[in-house]
Symmetry: none
Subunit: 206 residues, 4 copies
DNA sequence: CTCTAATCGAGACGGTACGTCGCGTCTTACG
DNA sequence: CGTAAGACGCGACGTACCGTCTCGATTAGAG
C-alpha cells in the first residue's frame, strides 16, 4: 500500500501522529507487550495474546508492525531512549561517576521493567536496539581520542553494561546501586577512556 | 544456588556409551547441527532439516534431545570445552598475552564455526553454556584476590569476550588476531585483575 | 439411552451457513472423502490425503471435523438421507415390493459409491449412521403392531439390508436388481411385518 | 481366486506345537488380548499394551502374528469354534428351537467376553472370521434345498445373528435368553428354511 | 546330561500420521 | 466504508505407534 522508502525505524517514528486511532492502537499494543513481558518470556508471548490484552483486533497488529520483534523493537526504543540520555554522556563527561550512579538508580527504580527486557528472549533484540541508538548518538558526538575502534567501543560498552545490569537485576537485594555504578565505572568506562589510567590507579571515580 | 559441580552435561555424556547406535545417532545429529548452522541462523533451523541432514529418523531426535536448544547446548559444550581450556587460564596466568593470542588464533582458524555459533539465535544459548563451563572451571581454581564478586567476574569476562569475538568475526579482514588479543587483554582482562582489590571493601560478601 | 431426537447432525448443519468459506471448505472435504473412498479403504485414507485432494489446508480439516470418522459420518448422513427416503417406507407401505425394487435400483445406479461406503473400514460407521437415521425416522412414524421390540426391528432391518446389499455389491453381475429386491422383501421385510405370513405363503410380493 | 479350502487358520494351528516356549507365548498373547478387549475398544489396543500385559517382549509379538488383526483373528477362531458348534446345526436340525436356546444361553454365560468381541472395532474382523468358519462348515454339510444362494444364506444368517446378539448384549437385563432365542428362530432361521424353494425359479444358478 | 540352536527380553531405530499451535493473509459481516 | 472477528493456507512441533533390527541371556530338546 504505502510507499515505504525508509527501512522501518523511521516508519515507526514519523507515522504516529497522523491518525488518532493509530496512536491509541499503538499505545495499547506497546502497553500490552510491556505487561506481558513481565509475566512471560518474550518468545512465548503470542501475537494473539498481545492483541487480546491490548483489546484490539488480531489483524490490527499487522497494520502497525510486521513482526512480534518489530513491536518489541518499538517498545525497546522508547524505553532505551530515556535511559540512553544518561548512559551515553558517560563516555564524555568528566565526572562519569555521577552519571553511572544516575543510570543504576533509574534501572533500580524500574526493576521489573528492565528485568523483563534484559532477560528472556527479548535480550537479543534489546541489545541490538541499544547498540543502534548508542551508535547513532556516538556519531553525533565529538569523538575523543580513543585507543580502539570507535564502533567496537560502542558495542563493548553497551554489551558489557547490559550484561552487568542483567547480572545485577537477578541479585539486586545483595548489591546497592552505588556499588554497581562504581563497578561499571571502573570495569567498563575507565578502560575505554583512560589509556593506561587504570594501571596507575587514576581511576575516574572519587 | 546449589553447588552441583558438573551440572548436567556429564549426564548427557555418560549415558551414551551403552549402545553403539546411540553414539552414532548423536554424532550424526551434532554434526548435522554444526553443518546447518553455517548455512542458516539457528532459529530458522528445523528439526526436520537436522534429522534429514543427519540421515536419521525424525522421531530419533527426540529420543536424544528434548529440544533443538538441547542439541545446540550439547554441540556448544563440546566446542566450548576445547576453547575454554585456553581462555580461562587467562585470568590466572602471569603472561596472559600469550594466552589471549592463542585464543584469537584458535577462533580465527575456525572462523566459520565460531561465526555460526556466536551470531544468529544461537548466541544466547552459547553464552549460557559458556558461562556455565567457565563457572565450573572457576570453582575449581584457586580464587585470586579479585576486587569484584567472583560470579560477576566470570559473567563479565565471558560475555565481554564473546561480544568482542563476535564483533571481530564480522570484520576479520580489518584486524589481525594479535591486535584483537591485545584489545582483549587491555580492555577485559586487565581491569579484572589489576587495581586496588579493596577499593570497595570486601565487595564479594553480601 | 437419552432421547435426543436430532442427535448431532443438525448441529453440524445449522452452523455452516454463517460463512461462505466454511460451506466451500466442507463441500471440498466431503467431496474429497467420497472420491478417495472409491480408491482406498477407509482406514487407509489419510487426513493429509483428504486435505490435499480437497485443495484445502491440513489444519482446516480440524476446524470442521474432530476426526476422520466425523467427516465420514457427515458424508454418510448426506448419502443415507437420500437413500433412506426410499427404504424406510418399506416397513409401512402396503406395496413394499415397489419400494424395495426402487431401493435396489438406486444402489445399482450408484454402485461404486455404495461399494465404497459399505465395504472397507467405513462399514461400521456407516452402519451406525444408518441406524441412527432409521431410528429417528421410525420415531416419527406411527408404529404398526410389531411382534418384536421396535428398536430391534430398526437395528435388524437396517443391518440385514446393509449385509444383503454389501453381498450383492460384490457380485452384482450375477444377480439383477429385482431379484435382490425380492430376496430383501421375503427375507427381511416379511418376517418383520407379517406375523406368520411367511409360513403360509402370503408374502408381500407378487 | 484360488480354492484354498481352509484359508489360513490351519496354518496357524499346525506350527504351534513345535516348541514349548512358543505355546506359552501365544497363550499369553491371546489371553492378554482377551483381557484388554474387556477394557478397551479394539482399535485403541496397542501392541505394546498387549505385550506388556502378556509379560512378553515387544518383538515377540511379531514372531507370532504379523498384525494386531491377526491376533484378534486367532482369538476369534478359538472363541467362535466352540460357539459355532451350536449355531450351525440350527439350519439343519429339525428342532432348531433347542439349538438357538443353547446358543443364547452360551452367550449369556460369557457375556463380557462376547460383548467385547461384538462391540468396538473388533466386530468387523469377528464377523469375517465368523462367516469364514460358517462357510467352511456349510460346505461340508449336505445342502438342503434353500431358495436363495447358499453363500448369501451363510452371510445373512451369520450377520443377522451377530447383530441380534450384539443388540441383546447391550440390553441383556431386559430380555431373557429364551425370548431372544425365539426371536432368532422366527426372524432369521425360519425365513431361511421355510417357504417355496422355487419361488424365483432356480435362484442359486447364475 | 550336555551342547547347540532356536526363542526370548529389551529397546533403539526409520518411518509415518496424528492433532496442536502460531503466523501472516484475506475475506466476511457489522456498525 | 472501515474495523473487528476470525477462517484459511502453511508448516513446524512433539507424540504415538508401527514393524524391523540388533543385541545378549536363557532355555528347550536333540544327541
Amino acid at each position: 500500500m504505502e510507499a515505504r522508502i525508509l527501512p522501518r525505524n523511521l516508519q515507526r517514528q514519523d507515522n504516529a501522529p497522523t491518525d488518532a486511532r493509530q496512536v491509541r492502537s499503538r499505545k495499547a499494543l506497546t502497553g500490552a507487550m510491556l505487561a506481558l513481558l513481565e509475566e512471560t518470556p518474550f518468545d512465548q508471548v503470542t501475537i494473539r495474546e498481545i492483541t487480546a490484552r491490548a483489546g484490539t483486533g488480531y489483524a490490527t497488529f499487522f497494520r502497525h508492525y510486521p513482526d512480534k520483534e518489530a513491536l518489541l523493537g518499538d517498545v525497546a526504543s522508547q524505553e532505551i531512549a530515556s535511559l540512553l540520555a544518561m548512559t551515553l554522556p558517560i563516555l564524555c563527561s568528566a565526572s562519569s561517576a555521577e552519571t553511572t550512579r544516575a543510570l543504576c538508580q533509574h534501572v533500580a527504580e524500574h526493576r521489573t521493567l528492565w528485568s523483563a527486557l534484559l532477560t528472556g528472549g527479548a535480550a537479543g533484540i534489546l541489545r541490538e536496539e541499544f547498540i543502534r541508538q548508542a551508535r547513532d548518538l556516538a556519531i553525533g558526538m565529538a569523538q575523543p581520542d580513543i585507543w580502539l575502534p570507535a564502533d567496537l567501543a560502542v558495542v563493548y560498552a553497551t554489551g558489557a553494561t547490559i550484561d552487568l545490569l542483567a547480572w545485577w537485576l537477578a541479585r539486586m537485594e545483595d548489591y546497592p546501586a552505588h556499588q554497581i555504578a562504581a563497578i561499571l565505572d571502573r570495569l567498563i568506562i575507565a578502560p575505554l577512556l583512560g589509556g593506561r589510567a587504570d594501571l596507575f590507579g587514576k581511576t575516574t571515580s572519587n
